[in-house]
Subunit: 163 residues, 2 copies
């Protein structure tokens, strides 16, 4: 059972990791160092600003989130625009919404080529010091931490089989 | 343009309000007093614990969120179970995820009867003192505050026409 979950996750998770690398590399010339993925239920994504989005397809439904510490989100903005905001303003939140959309869109294309089709809902941005994100799903749930000199980030992905 | 947005919203929003009333009435024998809905882009839902969920259908895509102040979330738990937690614990977060699912499920049924079909993604629960929720959508976005003697709640709904 556990093995099936892990297999499913490698197949489903890599497209998100590839898309995240492409989006941050292209938009901000910035690379995050991936930490160890966890399937544990007691792990929680944590950050100061997060983008979340729902996904629904004929074979699956799920959700994706990406959370950033404040300073890392500001640093991505800095690398994109040349100027560093000193706090999480509306523009940083817009950027996090855009990153969420682009990463999920990239994963959607790659998963579509593998025969897993889904449509994306509209993204939501959460802002607030040190909040936690927890995906509610019967299916497997993966959380992966990332580090950068400017701060930490987390992605969390979960998929249910569609009913 | 504005009129079309508002009409669309009355049609789309009432099923969520009806479902919220049913869910809280049935689960917790609790009634929230609805405040004035706003379509403004600078309004923000705010709370200590929120449930968010994505929706995708052939004609539309969107997202729904419901945010509670800590004391109100604990009071709903109190009314459901007879015992009041003194802070936002894992059980309260579970309950908020469940309310999110049930309210969206109720709205899905009512909207389905009107010919608007959508599937629900998996819900996500956000926890963190006084965080804000902001839906990112090209389409209309509605935010509605609710009050109760135990605290405030907000729902936020947005829908894009599906591409």
């Amino acid at each position: 059972m556990e093995a099936r979950f892990l297999d499913m996750n490698a197949e489903f998770v890599n497209p998100f990791l590839n898309a995240l690398k492409n989006v941050l590399g292209t938009m901000a010339n910035l690379e995050l160092k991936a930490g160890k993925a966890a399937m544990k239920k007691d792990e929680m994504a944590r950050g100061d600003v997060s983008g979340v989005i729902g996904m629904v397809g004929p074979q699956l439904k799920g959700s994706f989130s990406i959370s950033f510490e404040e300073n890392l989100a500001c640093e991505i903005m800095h690398k994109m625009l040349g100027e560093k905001p000193d706090k999480l303003d509306a523009e940083v939140c817009d950027m996090v919404g855009e990153i969420t959309n682009m990463v999920t869109g990239g994963a959607k294309r790659e998963l579509g080529e593998k025969g897993y089709d889904f449509e994306m809902a509209t993204p939501i941005v959460v802002s607030g010091k040190n909040h936690t994100i927890s995906h509610r799903s019967e299916g497997p749930k993966l959380i992966m931490p990332f580090t950068h000199i400017a701060g930490k980030a987390y992605i969390e992905i979960c998929f249910d089989r569609a009913v």
